[in-house]
């Protein structure tokens, strides 16, 4: 593609300058997830979007390697041309998004319980760390247990450990057909039915549930779809095919409220004593909640059930955005930060206030 460029050396020089100046940096791809995480100070923006381009893609190896700044659109188009996909269905939010940003944020779309997450699919990285060292971890093969799994540690680290110059990701064949069915039941009994369908190995690839409207996506042909409709008493959907993409990118009406949006991660069948409506995905494992309740109340409600809560959008961004950690685990994370970014260059405070 035009515009492909390996900016490793230039970025390495930027890091060395930052070390010399004693400054810190705000890492930025396309900025599509700029709203996410704790608010940063007045750091200089280090633009990573110029370091882009697909480095290698061999469909029969089920692996794509691309520079961190490569737009998700470009990667998805290349995969689509070969009947393949990024199995974690990364959100694009404002329509942009880079592959490096998608891995660093660690977010997955509706397909996550069936397709995996960024950390599940990440096979290897070329990392530029906070000492300006370029290192490679993992590789382009599915199985690799040589050394600690440093690459996957970068997924969801919010760019606090280093710059993902290159990532290698496992890709999968895209289902030949996908269809949407409506479950005409209340949220509770729909969740039970979805659980039953999974236990009976039905080919689900997404679920959606809000108040009295429930939907599932299935990867199968028309014949099997008819059999499933009949067996579980489900209806054909009149939704446009863009429904799941709107859900993935938070373009759905539910996500347009100006209040604080919480992201709750739980075991699918966990009951929550809430009067507010939750939008559920992942057969109940992911719940979106708009609530004016105090932060501590939401966190303890979720924590009691073995889950965690992220203050995803809006509200005060200077406090805890991600779920507070056990002190010893926080200590380990600070220790890891010191290994990869001893000068505290990258996104200080974006993940947790302590690093």
């Amino acid at each position: 593609m035009s515009g492909d460029q390996d900016q490793s050396s230039q970025l390495q020089a930027n890091i060395k300058d930052a070390i010399a100046e004693g400054s810190s940096l705000r890492l930025m791809g396309s900025g599509s997830k700029d709203f996410y995480g704790r608010e940063l100070g007045q750091q200089r923006v280090l633009d990573l979007s110029g370091n882009r381009g697909i480095v290698s893609y061999e469909p029969t190896e089920l692996v794509i390697t691309a520079r961190g700044g490569t737009p998700l659109d470009e990667i998805e188009a290349a995969l689509e041309a070969n009947g393949q996909m990024l199995p974690f269905e990364p959100p694009h939010f404002d329509g942009k998004g880079t592959i490096g940003g998608a891995i660093a944020a660690g977010l997955s779309g509706p397909r996550r319980p069936w397709g995996g997450s960024p950390r599940d699919l990440l096979l290897g990285i070329k990392l530029l760390d906070g000492q300006g060292r370029i290192m490679s971890f993992g590789g382009q093969v599915m199985k690799n247990v040589a050394g600690y799994d440093i690459s996957r540690l970068m997924a969801g680290a919010m760019g606090t450990l280093g710059i993902l110059l290159e990532v290698s990701i496992k890709v999968l064949p895209k289902p030949a057909e996908e269809h949407t069915l409506i479950i005409d039941r209340d949220q509770h009994s729909a969740t039970r039915l979805i659980g039953q369908m999974i236990a009976e190995s039905q080919p689900l690839t997404a679920s959606y549930s809000l108040a009295d409207k429930q939907a599932i996506r299935l990867a199968c042909n028309h014949q099997r779809l008819a059999a499933i409709r009949q067996k579980y008493g489900l209806q054909e959907s009149t939704e446009s095919s863009g429904f799941w993409q709107q859900l993935r990118d938070h373009k759905h009406d539910f996500f347009q409220q100006p209040k604080t949006l919480w992201r709750l991660s739980l075991k699918p069948t966990t009951p929550l004593e809430l009067t507010e409506a939750c939008l559920q995905e992942w057969s109940g494992g992911l719940r979106w909640l708009y609530s004016e309740r105090p932060e501590t109340e939401i966190r303890s409600l979720v924590e009691r059930q073995g889950g965690h809560a992220v203050q995803f959008r809006n509200g005060d961004r200077s406090g805890d955005i991600f779920h507070p950690l056990h002190p010893r685990i926080l200590g380990i994370q600070q220790g890891l930060k010191a290994v990869f970014d001893p000068h505290g260059l990258f996104n200080p405070g974006r993940h947790y206030s302590d690093y």
Binding site: S136, M142, K143, S265, K267, L286, G307, I329, L336, V339
Partner: protein, 486 residues
């Protein structure tokens, strides 16, 4: 240095029941090696605690006294990861063997580390569920060991490694603190420490509880067996299956030497004159499987298979697999000893790699059988030798080392699922430059600053690599100069 065995035993007998402390020389011998019996060391003492609290106490004591600790599960590991430390404690977790809970609705099982891999699936069967990772030692190997090694199996391409099937572990740190890493949901807050713990070979902490994902047992499984006159054509058939959008549950290749050995051993019905066979399994609903197996059959024929058979019934399917699952012991019957390698390569390099292994086999004068997880590129060359012949073990080791360096040179890795342990520690120098190795050591130090957990394993010191490098660059020439380096 030099801790006294008797006084150490007395200290542990004060905190543990007497049957948990093994310290008589003759009783220590059975623990001197794991599944890699070429390496043996007698530990100072063996401890076999019954409870998590006892594990905590032991670690606190070892931390205080600065005693090295090597954890051991079922002892089936193939890289010497559980090789004892002569001045340390060998801490067996085999007695922590309870299945704590099976959560049918959320398809989870909470188990202790000593539970055998297969026992999880057996217990889950009543709920129509199973645990997907299936290393060939699954009858004996333990879940704790699987987590330590990030164990694989024959179904990884579709269902992932241990890493993809574990949601949460309870970890005891070297100073005896109990931590929950991961969560019961699909993600956890903070950095993803579970990715570091899984596959860390007991060097970051001890896992005393594991929450694993369970999957619904597929309605039907069917396997196709294809025979090829040429290994390279078999390799291309694998690529063709993937290119056609099929994601097989299992995709395995055996070369002529290994398939003949397997046939002699279990009478699997393999065509013994084939250069290679492929086993391709699909699973799912009745209809899906019927449709897909026909597609697989056609692709295999179109790709140049000499013959394709599908299993007539479940008995035949099990027989086809029995040959593959018994390939290691089958090959083991061909020679007094064999040395199992575990490299991973990009699939498209298979032809080249097998040809070069064939040339090395001639050079070293040692036969080599090849078993290949073709779906995920994980190659297990089995080098045959006789340890009673002077120098033959060393020759086998050198042959093996050369294979692993070849795997790295073609863009792969020295270990796909068996771990580095003590066995492949020199080859780590071929795979990783100094900054990466320094980073590994620094990560370990975050968890275990005094280097007490399984010291000396998995990550070589830079000094060791300098020495190893000097040995291997003969006359300024790297091995495989003709290959592009990745």
């Amino acid at each position: 240095m030099g801790i006294d065995r008797q006084s150490l035993a007395a200290e542990f007998l004060n905190m543990l029941p007497s049957d948990c402390v093994i310290y008589r020389e003759e009783e220590l011998i059975p623990f001197e090696c794991d599944g890699l019996s070429a390496y043996r060391k007698v530990p100072l003492i063996v401890l076999l605690p019954y409870t998590t609290e006892q594990v905590e106490q032991v670690l606190k004591h070892c931390h205080e006294k600065q005693i090295p600790v090597v954890a051991r599960g079922a002892g089936t590991g193939l890289s010497g990861g559980a090789l004892p430390h002569e001045q340390g404690v060998l801490l067996s977790l085999a007695r922590l063997n309870k299945i704590i809970e099976i959560d049918q609705d959320n398809r989870l099982a909470c188990v202790q580390p000593g539970v055998r891999n297969l026992a999880v699936s057996e217990a889950a069967k009543a709920y129509g569920l199973y645990y997907a990772p299936d290393p060939s030692s699954q009858i004996a190997c333990s879940i704790g060991g699987n987590v330590a090694e990030n164990a694989g199996g024959v179904h990884c391409l579709k269902y992932g490694l241990t890493l993809h099937n574990v949601l949460q572990v309870t970890l005891i740190t070297i100073d005896g603190e109990r931590l929950t890493i991961g969560a019961n949901g699909l993600d956890a807050p903070g950095l993803d420490l579970l990715t570091l713990i899984t596959g860390s070979e007991g060097m970051l902490g001890l896992v005393v509880e594991v929450v694993v994902k369970l999957l619904p047992i597929p309605e039907r499984q069917q396997v196709a067996l294809a025979a090829f006159d040429d290994v390279e054509i078999a390799g291309k058939a694998v690529a063709e299956i993937i290119a056609k959008g099929i994601l097989p549950a299992g995709l395995e290749m055996m070369d002529n030497l290994s398939l003949r050995a397997a046939e002699d051993f279990v009478h699997a019905g393999y065509p013994t004159d084939a250069a290679a066979i492929l086993l391709c399994e699909v699973d799912g609903s009745e209809d899906e499987v019927s449709e897909e197996i026909m597609r697989v059959r056609q692709i295999l024929l179109d790709s140049g298979a000499r013959e394709v058979r599908t299993a007539e019934d479940e008995t035949e399917r099990m027989r086809f697999w029995a040959g593959r699952k018994n390939a290691f012991p089958a090959v083991g019957r061909l020679a007094p000893d064999y040395y199992c390698m575990d490299g991973t390569i990009p699939r498209n390099q298979l032809g080249k790699v097998l040809t070069m292994i064939g040339e090395m086999s001639e050079k070293y004068g040692l036969p080599c059988a090849n078993v290949f997880h073709a779906g995920d590129g994980n190659l297990h060359p089995l080098i045959l030798y006789d340890a009673n012949n002077e120098g033959e073990l060393e020759k086998a080791e050198e042959f093996g080392g050369e294979i692993l360096e070849l795997c790295v040179a073609v863009g792969g890795t020295i270990t796909g699922e068996h771990g580095v342990g003590v066995e492949k520690i020199n080859q780590m120098c071929a795979q990783f430059p100094d900054p990466e190795l320094e980073t590994f050591h620094a990560v370990k130090a975050v968890f275990d600053p005094q280097n007490l957990l399984n010291p000396g394993k998995a990550i070589p010191t830079l000094a060791r690599c300098a020495e190893f490098g000097a040995m291997h660059v003969h006359a300024g020439k790297l091995r495989f100069p003709e290959l592009e380096r990745f």
